[in-house]
Symmetry: C2
Subunit: 427 residues, 2 copies
């Protein structure tokens, strides 16, 4: 087995006890990248010498953090002090920031080696697509906007990578690429130094190849409750299978993934019950769109004024509020979201997790359509933690995942649930 094939959680103890060096692991990842990158095109910046230097520094470190020596990719709309941050925008080609984004600082502080920057949809929002292809089928998208991060982890190039989610930019690519992804509770991971799209929605998250990988990064961020184990076995779990208000938009393979995951869990002794969401949830998807459009007005205003010709029409439209969102609509959306957050949380602790679709189906063909975020945007607005879990394959042999969802700030328990259910769902 080559080092690049190790999951982060398998490599972590070896890096800690010295049976594997960060340099050897990075070198192996670089070899894998050299082999696969011409097809997958996951990276916008990768300097092998810089990565190896960082790895050697990690090997010499006096303290060993929870991510000691683990290579990590960073979505290219998150600032890095030693690498450019282009946002996939012609405005910011070659931009160098003076300091790391907060999330990058935290993982470096815990010993991670930043390998490089991964391609993204422009500003993680719209406009230009990433060049990245789906590692399972290069004619298809890996999903967006965290295209390069999801594909790089899926393709064995790097064990961990940062993504972000404002609509469905983290969990949907996880489903399309067959990897694990975590969108934590909104607000618990400092998004300073990542491009702002929507204040209410933007959430930093991460990809890995198993639930243990996701937990390592959660530990770096000291999420609430990680020190208290769930203390349950599979047979004591209660999972709410939730089709949700957009079930009719799920393709057959995505519906089947959720139902299959439910059957597998039930067969393993988990109490699985279908649950309908209470009143109001039918409107959350639209509320998410209203907030996205309204907050997009201010998000790209500086670029609109200073670099108008280089700003994609998508963003000019947002600044000009062509969708005509009113203040009243925006307030109604905020207030509905506040209500539904509380109502959703009330499902817990009656259940340990909600099981729901992660995408409409397999990854679409081509680069332009990065997939529909309809199974993610509601949860993003509800601020609840979501973990994407691979489940099955679609009619074209591409991965189709599901997601499990917890209450706000229930990230730690949800990670424990993921560790129990993933081996059953991802059979």
């Amino acid at each position: 087995m080559e080092p690049w094939q190790l999951t982060a959680s398998a490599a972590a103890p070896m890096l800690r006890d010295g049976t594997l060096t960060a340099e050897a692991l990075v070198r192996s990842c670089l070899e894998r990248i050299a082999e696969r990158e011409p097809v997958t095109k996951a990276w916008t910046f990768l300097d092998p010498q810089l990565a190896l230097t960082s790895a050697r520094e990690a090997d010499k470190a006096y303290t060993r953090g929870v991510l000691h020596g683990l290579p990590m990719g960073v979505k290219d709309m998150i600032d890095t002090a030693d690498m450019p941050t282009t946002h996939n925008s012609p405005i910011y080609q070659g931009l160098r920031q003076g300091r790391d984004a907060a999330c990058v600082g935290v993982v470096r502080g815990e010993g991670a080696v930043i390998l490089g920057k991964t391609d993204t949809v422009e500003f993680a929002a719209g406009g230009r697509r990433a060049l990245t292809r789906n590692p399972h089928d290069p004619t298809r998208t890996p999903g967006g906007s965290s295209s390069g991060s999801a594909a790089a982890v899926a393709d064995g190039m790097v064990p961990l990578a940062f993504g972000t989610q404002t609509g469905g930019s983290l969990v949907r690519p996880a489903s399309f690429c067959g990897v694990y992804g975590m969108k934590p509770t909104h607000g618990v991971v400092n998004s300073e130094g990542a491009k702002r799209y929507s204040h209410t929605l933007d959430t930093i998250g991460w990809y890995g190849r198993c639930p243990g990988d996701l937990r390592l990064v959660a530990q770096a961020f000291r999420l609430f409750g990680l020190e208290v184990p769930l203390g349950k076995t599979l047979g004591r779990l209660r999972v709410a299978l939730c089709r949700g208000p957009n079930w009719h938009l799920a393709g057959p393979e995505s519906q089947e993934a959720v139902l299959l995951a439910g059957r597998r869990l039930a067969a393993a002794g988990v109490a699985v019950e279908e649950v309908e969401l209470p009143a109001g949830f039918d409107e959350v998807t639209e509320a998410q769109r209203v907030i996205l459009m309204a907050e997009g007005r201010g998000a790209f205003l500086a670029e609109y004024l200073n670099a108008h010709a280089l700003l994609h029409q998508d963003f000019r439209d947002r600044v000009e509020n062509v969708s005509g969102i009113t203040a009243r609509q925006l307030l109604a959306a905020h207030d509905l979201a506040a209500d539904c957050r509380r109502r959703f949380d009330a499902l817990f602790p009656g259940y340990d997790a909600v099981l729901s679709p992660a995408s409409t189906g397999e990854a679409p063909v081509g680069r332009e359509d990065t997939g529909n975020p309809v199974f993610n945007s509601m949860w993003t607005l509800l601020h609840v933690p979501c973990i994407g879990i691979p489940c099955t394959k679609g009619p074209n042999g591409l991965p189709v995942g599901v997601q499990i969802i917890g209450p706000r700030l229930g990230d730690a328990a949800l990670l424990d649930v993921a560790a129990l259910v993933a081996p059953v769902i991802d059979a």
Copy 2:
């Protein structure tokens, strides 16, 4: 009259029609700074040549934005591409970022000339205080954390400046320094590129010397509703005088300021009624503290890990959660805030504004105590727009202001109300 004595709104038409050049205005501000800075110490970075170069560029500009040629100060925890951003932290001395914060980009895009960086409490949050002194009495604080911005505008050094408010960092210094300040609705001004303290609370705002100055900056940010005038006269206004749950913490001069403002308005024909806030508001101040402490855990984690020795104990305590905030407390605080936002908004349109204390009284003596934010932190958590208006003098001859408050996204109407009531309150 020297150009530095002009308000922004008085200078704006002269700059637009060419009777005043940006260069002449900046030169005059620089002369005023040369005279006053040894006492006031408002600036952490000021390069006269850079400021004059920017002014000459503004004079040559083809388009004339709403802030054309107006000098502006920037609180030194907001990024600027051409000046260092130190956050008043030893960690970031000399830090150069590659691009402007979004708010700086917007005002530059509208023609403003960034004059320099103003001193701040460390990370606009705690730890080290600004060196700045109150222009009305150099033995006293200008308030914090927007110390340098409030003092610079009060001292005639610059007509406009950015501040931020997480607790009471914008409106309180306005009261202490006798200037106008606006904290807009949370989320409408993109805070990308400002240091994060609390995701839920951090709000970019600005100082000026009259309501018209505040409006100019609001126009640059295209706040909702500015195109629709309020269309009322003083005699048609209804103002709710609200002592609020912390009235007993207001010193006599602050209580008197609010009551005096109420009497002055009533004498001018405004319908002024005392209003008690509905149930729940007694706990909002504590909810703000809970959210501040909980979000402070993640806000300084990167510095805690990477520059521990240079991070003030204040911030280490936050990261270590020494105040022991639990996830349950944090959720309860969020949910209470969501309820109270709706309840507060329901006061409108029955009233046009709420009138309330802006500070506990005059500015304290010394640099260490920058004042109590108790009359601001509730409104910050409620996300509502607040405008600080000078009103009277305290027993030591220092300014004491009041504030008027509107419903969420009612910024434009509140600016119209301010234009009507300020000449009466600030008599």
